[in-house]
Symmetry: C2
Subunit: 316 residues, 2 copies
């Protein structure tokens, strides 16, 4: 990774908004480079400068199209925008499949937009640690809005979206049926529900259905009541969605809500890093011990709890 | 929880195959009862007596119907069968939504069948620890086949299915399109791909498509080459699937493959327990410290790695 002065140079270039340097720092995060702690220490003070917006939803609801339309809307306001597209990755091959992210290509030549795919890699705690780190880099590069796009199918992806300042759950007519949404835990994380493709039949039904489900949930009078809006992102019609995001942002800034959310996100990040450190110690401090213990547990000569005690004794 | 003698009594009753005692022990596992380590120590020797079959696939492919048909097929052989149905649970409310598991109700009065839903609860590492523990209880109760049914949408659910001895990926005509399957990491975990609802149009196309994708993957000549079969579970037509499972089981028993898989599963279990132990220490040994550190990280006055070091210093 080079000497400390090299790292300082990359950090300085990222802070000036150079796309290549931003990409380099995020690659370090993704690869778990030994430079990451130093970079995070240097960028700690930049934390919190960006408004973090999570977008999640099932495949096919138009997440990439909506992200692209939101980028255009923020660019029209003169805002520098960062995008982190989280790919649910094969737990084995480690390769990220992009696909419809090409819809965001129209912003590829705009130097006020940084788009980055990050793979979830199948490591427990991976995204919980790497996503806020990437947000920190994008904020340092001057992005005052960071969009995190995740596919709302896996729990970890839903949780990542849920640690944003504002979480938008995208639905499409006919796809928003209640049970499926609740199953994925999406209902609880949404600050805003947006029925995209609202020019199709059934959009108003889906809006009603979501409103009904929200009305059934327990509601804390001091909490935000989720808003439900419509969009046709393919025709750049995201005005109501943008207004809903602005309204949520205004609510967050009142009464310390934003600070609460960010402390929750930081707690998740620290916990994820602590777990990653424990995993690393298992590999580095006690190589072979896990395999030996696993063989005994598989053979039935040792129970898993005794094995865990022995493992933790060695690494702590 | 009761005294040690009570636990011994419940264990003894579970080992005699009493459904109520089996349910009790699995509830302890799900609730993280302090009795679990003792139960696991007592049941350690039973590990490995059950053949563990994972079934996964997207919503709508007919997982519950296929599970039910497989139960009937194994019952016809006189096998005692355990079923663990993993529910992707809301990370916030903690409630499991069942729904189509009613399709398995036909086996409710058969005392040679144990069916149990387990919620994933949203805890990192949760299922990786609780699923093998529940398998141990079912094996102790005399189940020589345990089916683990998971919805193939989240990474953790896919991983749970992938730690089975034999993993069956269910597809349906028109739903098996390559990119989606690969995205969810399903292609790498499947030992057997089964196109269910094969009486519908497009089944042969889906079979061809899956075969093509398998042919594109790197193939280790010493590894199992995934088989592709068809079924119509709603008409109890699962004969080819059962034969494919038998063939995979025969392969596993040769050349130490089974032992390798089980050691991998045990390593996952121990790691998950170690991580759970670390989380518990954060709560018990250092209450409030995580919140204090998170507030500093959120405010930008501390970086997340320094915070993690301070946290781990306190708890280890």
């Amino acid at each position: 990774m080079g000497a400390e002065s090299d790292r300082d140079e990359w950090i300085a270039r990222a802070q000036r908004g150079e796309a290549r340097a931003v990409a380099r720092l995020i690659s370090w995060i993704e690869d778990g480079s030994p430079s990451v702690p130093y970079v995070m220490e240097r960028l700690a003070a930049t934390t919190g400068l960006a408004q973090v917006i999570g977008l999640t939803g099932a495949p096919g609801v138009g997440k990439s199209t909506t992200t692209s339309a939101l980028i255009s809307a923020y660019r029209a306001r003169g805002t520098r925008v960062g995008v982190i597209a989280v790919d649910p990755t094969s737990p084995f091959s480690g390769g990220a499949l992009l696909g419809d992210r090409v819809r965001m290509q129209e912003h590829a030549t705009d130097d006020g937009v940084f788009i980055r795919s990050m793979a979830s890699r199948g490591h427990l705690g991976g995204l919980a640690a790497t996503t806020p780190q990437a947000v920190r880099v994008l904020a340092a590069a001057g992005c005052t809005v960071v969009l995190i796009e995740t596919v709302g199918v896996g729990q970890s992806e839903v949780e990542v979206a849920g640690t944003a300042d504002t979480t938008v759950v995208l639905l499409a007519p006919g796809m928003g049926d209640g049970i499926q949404a609740a199953k994925a835990g999406i209902l609880e994380v949404g600050d805003i529900f947006c029925v995209n493709k609202a020019d199709r039949d059934g959009a108003d039904n889906t809006v009603r259905e979501v409103r009904h489900m929200i009305s059934l949930a327990e509601h804390d009078p001091y909490a935000w009541e989720p808003s439900v809006v419509k969009s046709v992102a393919s025709k750049a019609d995201v005005g109501d969605l943008l207004a809903a995001i602005d309204a949520h942002q205004a609510w967050l800034l009142a009464d310390g809500h934003l600070q609460q959310r960010r402390e929750r996100r930081a707690a998740e990040e620290i916990t994820a890093l602590a777990i990653a450190r424990v995993r690393q110690r298992v590999r580095d401090v006690a190589p072979g011990l896990l395999a030996t213990l696993a063989a005994e547990v598989a053979a039935g000569t040792k129970d898993p709890y005794s094995a865990t005690d022995l493992l933790l004794d060695q690494i702590t």
